[in-house]
Amino acid sequence: MSTEAAILERPNSDRQSRLGLDRFSYDNEIVKMFAIATMIWGVVGMLVGLLVALQLVFPALNFNTEYTTFGRIRPLHTNAVIFAFVGNGIFTGVYYSLQRLCKARMYSDMLSRINFWGWQLIILSAAITLPLGFTTSKEYAELEWPIDIAITLIWVVFGWNMFATIVKRRTRHLYVAIWFYIGTFVTVAVLHIVNSFELPISFMKSYSFYAGVQDALVQWWYGHNAVAFFLTTPYLGLMYYFVPKAANRPVYSYKLSIIHFWALIFLYIWAGPHHLLYNALPDWAQSLGVVFSIMLLAPSWGGMLNGLLTLRGAWDRVREDAVLKFMVVAITAYGMATFEGPMLSLKNVNAISHFTDWTVAHVHIGGLGWNGMLTFGMLYWLFPKIYRTEIYSKKLANTHFWLATLGILFYALPLYWAGFTQSLMWKEFTQEGLLAYPNFLETVTQLKPMYALRAGGGAIYIIGALIMGYNLYKTAKKGSFLKNEEAEAAPLSDTYVKHKGEHWHRWIERKPVQLLVGSLIVIMIGGAVEMVPTFLIDSNIPTIESVKPYTSLELHGRDIYIKEGCNNCHSQMVRPFRSETERYGEYAKAGEFVYDHPFLWGSKRTGPDLLRLGGKYPDSWHYHHMLDPESMSPGSIMPSYPWLFEKDIDVASTEAKINVMRRLGVPYPEGYENQAVADMYLQADEITANLAKSGIEVKNDREIIALIAYMQRLGTDINPEGKVAKPYHIEPAK
């Protein structure tokens, strides 16, 4: 405990000690810091989102620099809104509510500050490294290993501070909001650590510990539960505190809280494979993903019901009070998104929605609706409280509410339309059995008007957020900030006598450690059942003899593919549908990906699938296409990559790459690492010679050569029509 906190905690005055009351104060300063960070990062993250949305309509907005292309900026948007906006939102709400629910100041002001500044530094490092191209490629876990370690440390600081506060609480039982905070803390820790297993090859580059199917399973177990335990459970905790507070109504049902909390955290963790339906994942794992997603509907709606029904008897005020309005829309959006989620997890619906903008629309109902609106509601309630004043302008708050609500609609509806349109175009055949829209680009240009409308919706939403910033700034200006809020409460006695007829669940509400361990066990079950067999039982990933490791040149090319974030727009996963095998070629087999550290299946097709790209076009096609996509595909919205023609392949890292891959189980022969660079130039020379035939002069050490080598290798290991995979161009010394 810091000295300041110790002084503030000191029970003083005779009166209080006679009454047996402790006098202490709540730390509002930390709440204010997080609240301001939430607003700033919220606007920044949304503006970056607007930029990437506009890039799809006006490719010139990629600005022709490597730091601002869609592939590098899109992860910046997702990371900013998830970890910076919502992350700071979580801390704001937790630091405010936890103190009051525990009747105790945060355990340590020092830890609170480390939590704050550490988190902001992590965000800053993300904002710097992502545009620079340092990425693991795993969605919402793009940050490289040193930042992963920092996240772990700061998360532990947060958990330590929270848990120590809970331990020294002055209320006997833990309120449902705190169950959710504890569940969030343990689960996010487990998810982050397991998914971030990676072997570094250098300061800002690593390879995922897992490969192919296993990597995909771990990643989407993480990815799905990042939504569940970062965007959902902590916000449910905030809902349980701020909604009854703002409405001044009792929580609707304690029973419902119990059942939906445990059911939600138990079921959520299983649902990850629904991100990989019809992918090269074993059928049984996919089916588990389906059924657990369906079973999630009721527990999710349990949260919605408890939120909305808490407003019984306060609906007349919802009409007046902007805070309640934001909360109602947030909870409703939560209900819509958690209904849509299970539906999208049905394989026949997913067959239509996956890889399209439908998914993007879906997550934004959750992001803009649930997280955004609840954050706004919370901030509008909090600011007047900590600044001891009224809100500066109710009218502006109402204006913000309507802008945000309309913004969501204008954002989501065009994207639903776009997703549906594109999917139907992909799947349509003529009577002769040909694809009705064989040129993928046709299905993209069709969507431009919808993309433009979506950007408009997003812009409206951002304007609302800016108005909030102004309104809250003015509120702060006119009020006076209460840094330490005085409070008093009786300390807990050492003994507790259960009273008659007490609900059985009250027991665990008195036992934070048991609650933490209990939730840990509950969330470990699903993950273990799905992952362990996939790692241990060979039949889940049938071996394919012809699948060989990447050559050193291809490996460099693959790392460039990752660095440029190609996987943000291109999948490498041909699903077993006629419409896909006709368009792309043989569907993906689990055994093809055994050397893919990390997997690069992708989750969205803004451009076509690339799994069977190898041998499809000549080297010169790729050369021209990467330099100016429109020269080969008129109307393409893909950015140009001129810097790949200037930069040299990083041969200094070749040896390390081969060594790390071998340690991860890729069977490079002994001694290959020493010849890898020479081998690389041999293969590069083949490509430059090939290009020379088409009149293209290029040096053999340029990044573009490595990328072409990788693209020409893609999917050819099992494709008899394509090139035959050659793992080495010179036979490694024995």
């Binding site: 009051r100 629910l101 009747k103 039982h173 309120y175 505190y241 009854p244 009792p250 609707y252 049902s253 304690y254 029973k255 419902l256 809280s257 059942i259 059928d283 049984w284 089916s287 389906v290 059924v291 657990f292 369906i294 079973m295 509907l297 009721a298 709606w301 349990g302 019901l305 029904l309 008897g313 299970p342 049905l346 394989k347 026949n348 003529t430 009577q431 002769e432 059995g433 040909l434 694809l435 064989p438 040129n439 009273h499 077993p576 549908f577 006629r578 095998t581 006709e582 368009r583 041998g615 076009y617 000549p618 010169s620 096609w621 021209h624 020269s631 080969m632 008129p634 088409s694 394509g722």
Partner: protein, 294 residues
């Protein structure tokens, strides 16, 4: 509140019974398909069946719940009458709301108020909404059915099998189509089209698909020159048709059969042949053998 009569209890019970017996009976009935089922995969049918079953289970549960509810009301009303309590009048919507949520009305919520208090937040202990509970049970039943269907009984097709089925069905449809129009165009029967309309269409196909590699003037860039009289794979109309259709993967020429129909390939072939002998700027050097068109 209106007292439910014995008649209502019977109605609920009869509804439940009817639902249980109806599908059993219909299973024996001779099916006379009028719909086109050919394009349905068995996964569709299985899903339909599962949804039907789920819907059926919901309805059956609702029927049963209604019967039980009515029964309970009769008993409650009897008890109330014995105790001399006169039931109050409640409107339809309120009744519906209470029935769906099983919630204690706001005015009487002190009855379910717990002694929990956290920073002035109190907690009620209303019952779980019956429809919500039913939904939860239905999803659990669905999950069991689903897993059993695909992984225990093996009735449902897994994805590889589903794909096979889709391909077989599609092939049958395509074959039937070509049979109905008297066979497809191929390299042995394709002819040069000289009409204006075909050549214009051929040009637009060429510009959109071929120009990137062979040059907008057919002068050759990535791919070979198409206006000279040298051909690598033969210059007959059938030869050109075949190269466009099947591609020459070893040389980077892709196959267009998945993207262009035979008629479209015929039109673009004709367009290319119609440009033979033109002299665009920057023409690529001839490749292949000289071909004298007859």
């Amino acid at each position: 509140m209106k007292r439910p009569s014995l008649k209502q209890i019977n109605k609920g019970a009869a509804f439940t019974l009817g639902l249980v017996t109806l599908p059993t009976l219909s299973a024996f009935a001779q099916a006379t398909p009028t719909l086109d089922y050919t394009s349905w995969t068995s996964a569709d049918l299985m899903l339909g069946a599962v949804i039907f079953m789920a819907g059926f289970v919901v309805l059956a549960l609702l029927g049963l719940a209604y019967a039980l509810y009515a029964l309970k009301k009769v008993i409650d009303a009897q008890k109330a009458a014995e105790m001399g309590i006169i039931p109050e009048q409640v409107g339809f919507w309120k009744r519906l709301e209470y029935r769906l949520t099983d919630a204690v009305p706001v005015e009487r919520e002190f009855e379910v108020m717990t002694d929990h208090e956290y920073d002035d937040i109190r907690e009620l202990d209303n019952s779980l909404p019956p429809w919500w509970k039913a939904m939860f049970y239905v999803t659990i039943v669905f999950a069991v059915f689903y897993m059993a269907n695909y992984h225990i009984f093996g009735w449902g097709k897994l994805q590889a099998e589903e794909y096979e089925h889709e391909m077989v069905t599609a092939k049958a449809q395509i074959d039937a189509y070509f049979e109905s129009i008297g066979g497809a165009l191929n390299e042995t029967n394709v002819t040069f089209l000289s009409d204006e309309e075909s050549l214009t269409e051929g040009k637009s196909i060429y510009d959109g698909n071929c120009g990137a590699c062979h040059g907008q003037e057919l002068q050759g860039t990535v791919g070979p020159n198409l206006v000279d009289n040298y051909w690598i794979h033969g210059g007959e109309v059938g030869d050109i048709f075949k190269v466009i259709r099947d591609g020459v993967p070893s040389k980077g020429m892709i196959s267009w059969k998945g993207q262009l129909s035979a008629e479209q390939i015929q039109m673009v072939t004709s367009y290319i042949m119609s440009k033979e002998g033109t002299e665009p700027a920057n023409a690529k050097a001839p490749e292949g053998d000289e071909f004298i068109r007859q």
